[in-house]
Each structure stands twice: as structure tokens, then as C-alpha cells.
Symmetry: C2
């Protein structure tokens, strides 16, 4: 591939640009975003220049959509007339089935392959971007059919993902959305619900009577609804089921506060927590 | 005070000994624990020597019970015949009303003043102890009457707490137990329930499809039931109410996954999470 277009040059998009450069990509990297965001991404060295979507898409061999989910859905619906045949369109949206469905319905002149890099930071924007953001992290791809992973454009893209240090994992989009409803969306809502509960029940200063665990458990609650609105709306069925199961578990714990039964819950929970810390 | 007895020379007890020494306490510090724990506490410089409870209590002006809640309850029930009149017995149990009640019923020959230092570490034992563990941290005291804070022994103890850098906060034991059911016990159970839910719903390796938030939200789940059994059993009414309110909040979120209503929950949660991070 000679030219890459990155639509949305925030933390993920700009980090992808930096990572490609560090891995030896010598082609052009064109950013598609607001003037301010492009200026920040150019200053960070993540893109060479900005251009309107139509101009960037017409030249790009790889089009990487790293916008919010709502903007990705919108872009996907208007992209088909703008792309080069043979190009690959991929994305970084954190829910996949709605995006994949929209792409199947709207992109016909080139290939679409959904993606979700598992990487993030507390800070946003190109100025926080890092060439190593994806190093050692899982990068999920959601082919509709297994053959989607084996086209020339997909093979070349996967090769670049390997070079930037990401671990590619192919998943059905529904399985992806089910997994992240548990590993990402449920933890977010558990944190937000906890902080909202405490906000209501504690008076000024009483939160100083707390251990360090309170800080861990409320960090995700700092997240903004602006990011989560689209995620919750595009994965609500899986999230509903995850919440239902979580509530059931909490009810079980509530009924057994004075029984030995909780030893099992603590043991199962500790086993899981140790497992996620052991992974290479 | 000339002699301090520390019953239970784990992380908290040994840190208290180190903190007293660093703050200039020149009297004797006697540990009451197993031979192994005493050897570790002596090696850390936290106590001068070990002794049986009867021998240590007969000499001590301050008796600090930093055992598990179950052991504190047991010690409190057997301590009265052993103490010096004029001594102060205090403790570090993380729930207070059951301990205070047991002390009121059993300790008559000297004063008891319940306490709960808000400090901890992931590691346990005297070898992890630190003279600065309580620096800047809240140390709750739970007087039965306001006058309990103003006896000569209590004034001297509070003065030492100030010297080791702790911020003393007087609370009714029931208010203390209500607050920690929210700030400490609910976060623990939210984390354990989350990890137990995920353990059941995810297959090997699927947890790699996750953001960094999963690590925050499952850290407390690493805690052992051995520590939590007593806490849950001695504060189950408040914890039951905290869990009920949390579950209600989660149900509300579940019903509003696709509505703007969640903006309010995110905003309230973020406000609380920012507030606990702003406190001096």
C-alpha cells in the first residue's frame, strides 16, 4: 500500500499513523478531520497533511476510520462512491455489528473489514498519541466470512498490524460485541453506577473514610457520556444481558452475606482476576 | 505513655510501631502475636520484643488491637482482667459497632476507644510495614460519648496520631459502619461480583479483548475471603442496604441504555469520581 487515509486523527488515529511510520511505512498518510485536529496530528508527526474525505479516499489504498461510532456509521454510508477499487476500508469502532451491517449494505466497490484495537489512554487527542500504543495489544478484526481475511488488501493490512506490534484476533462481530459487553461495557457501567450510588449516599468529606480500592473502582466513572452514548446504543442487547447477569450475581451475594457460600464467589472472582493478570 | 502493646503485628500493627518510633516515641513497644510474626516485627524494628497478652497488657498504657475483626472481638472479651487502670484500649478493626458493643460489655477497668485507620497495601505482614503508612490518611475514632475523646489517655493517643501524620475523624460507630459499607465494602463486592460474572461468561483468552479498565475493576477481586468474612458478617445490615441501592441503580441504567437519561448517571458518577480525587 502506498497511501493511507486516517479519518479521525484523535488518539487512536494519530497513534496508528505514528506506529506505521515507526514500523517503516514510507507512503503518504493523509488525515481527514477538523482543521484543528489535523494541525495537531501534523505537529505530532502522525499525518503528512489533511484533506477532505473525497480527496483522501480517492487516493488511499487503506482507509482507517478512527472516529466515534456515530461518525464511522455516517462515513461508511457515504464512502462507496469515493473509494478506489482494491482499497481496504477498516475501522476502530468499539462495537462492531452495527458498523459491519452498515458497511455490508453500503460499501460495494471495495472491501470493508471491521476492526477494534484494544488500546486507549486517559488522555485524548493526537498530542497524546504514541507509536507504541498498540504494542502487545489485541487488535480484533471481524470478517463476515473467513475469506475476508485472505484478500491481498487484508493480508497486507494484517502484516502492518503485526509490524506495529498488535496481536490480531479474528472474531465474528456478534461474538466480539458479546465479549466487549462483558470486558469493557459492563465494567464501565459498574463503575458509573457505583460512583452515582455513592454520590447520592455520602455527604461532603465522608468519602475520605475509604481505602484505596475506591479510587480503582471509580476511575472509569470519570469517562464522558459523549463517548459512551454510541457504544451503549449500538450494543444494548448484549449489555442488557451482561447487566442482568451482574445484577443476579450481586443479589446472590446479598442473600449470602453471612454464609460460607461467598467463599465460592470470592474464589471464582480471584481466579479470574489472577488470570487476566497472568496473560502474556 | 511509656509502654505500648500491639496485639497483631501485621501490616497495620507493625506500621503503627514504626510510625510511633519515627514520631519520637521512646518507650517500650511490646508485640503480641505468633513467634513468627513477632520475629518479623522485631526484624522490621516495629516492636522491641514479644510477650503473651497478659504480660503485655499488665504493663501497657496503650493497647492497640490490630488483629482480624474476629480476633479483636475475642481479645476484647478477655482483656478486662489484664489491663492497667488508666490505660487506653483501641483497635484497628474495619467495622466498628460489634467491636464497640463487645468492648462496652466487657471492658470496665480502663477506657476503650474504637478506631479504624484508613490505610492499607496490597502486601501483608510486618515486612511490608512503613512508618509513613498513616501519613495524610484519615484515622476514624468512634467514641460512644463525646467525652470519650477528652480523657487524658484519649488526648495523649490523639496527639500521637497527629504526630504520625493521621487525620483524626470522630464518628458514631453506626455512621462509620454505614460510610464504609459504601466506600469500601460495596466496591469490594462490586469487584468480586464483576470478576465472578466474567469468569462464568468468558472462555479462555477472551479477556484479552478488553481495555485497561478491566484491570482497575478486578483488582479488589484479588482479595481473600479470609479477610472479608468477618467484615461482611459484622456489617451485613449496612452492606445489604448498599447493595440494594447499587442494584437499583444498575436496573435504572439497564432500563435506559438507549435513552438520554444515562447522561445524568454519567454526570453524577463523574462528579463523585472527580470529587474524591480532589480531596487534599
Amino acid at each position: 500500500m502506498k497511501t493511507v487515509a486516517i479519518a479521525g486523527t484523535g488518539l487512536i488515529g494519530a497513534s496508528f499513523g505514528l506506529a506505521l511510520r515507526k514500523a517503516g511505512f514510507n507512503g503518504a498518510i493523509i488525515g481527514v478531520s477538523s482543521d484543528r485536529a489535523i494541525a495537531e496530528a501534523v505537529a505530532a508527526g502522525a499525518v503528512d497533511r489533511g484533506a477532505p474525505l473525497a480527496e483522501a479516499a480517492a487516493q488511499a489504498d487503506l482507509i482507517f476510520l478512527s472516529q466515534t461510532i456515530g461518525r464511522i456509521l455516517d462515513t461508511v454510508r457515504h464512502l462507496d462512491q469515493l473509494v478506489k477499487p482494491g482499497a481496504l476500508v477498516t475501522d476502530a469502532g468499539s462495537t462492531k455489528c452495527e458498523i459491519v451491517d452498515a458497511a455490508m449494505q453500503n460499501i460495494a466497490r471495495c472491501q470493508f473489514l471491521g476492526g477494534h484495537p484494544m488500546a486507549g489512554k486517559e488522555k485524548r487527542g493526537a498530542s497524546a498519541a504514541s507509536a507504541d500504543l498498540f504494542q502487545g495489544q489485541t487488535w480484533a478484526l471481524t470478517p463476515v466470512e473467513a475469506a475476508d481475511m485472505e484478500t491481498p488488501a487484508a493480508i497486507e493490512f494484517r502484516d502492518w498490524l503485526k509490524r506495529i506490534g498488535a496481536r490480531v484476533l479474528a472474531l465474528d462481530c456478534d461474538e466480539h460485541d458479546r465479549i466487549v459487553s462483558l470486558t469493557s461495557h459492563l465494567p464501565q457501567l459498574a463503575s458509573t453506577a457505583l460512583a452515582a450510588t455513592l454520590a447520592e449516599r455520602l455527604r461532603e468529606g465522608q468519602a475520605s473514610v475509604a481505602g484505596s480500592g475506591l479510587m480503582d473502582m471509580t476511575r472509569l466513572a470519570l469517562s464522558s457520556y459523549d463517548i459512551w452514548r454510541d457504544i451503549l446504543a449500538t450494543n444494548s442487547d448484549h449489555i442488557d444481558r451482561a447487566l442482568a447477569r451482574y445484577i443476579q450475581e450481586l443479589e446472590h451475594i446479598r442473600e449470602n452475606l453471612r454464609t460460607r457460600q461467598l467463599q465460592e464467589e470470592f474464589s471464582r472472582g480471584a481466579g479470574f482476576a489472577e488470570g487476566v493478570r497472568r496473560r502474556p
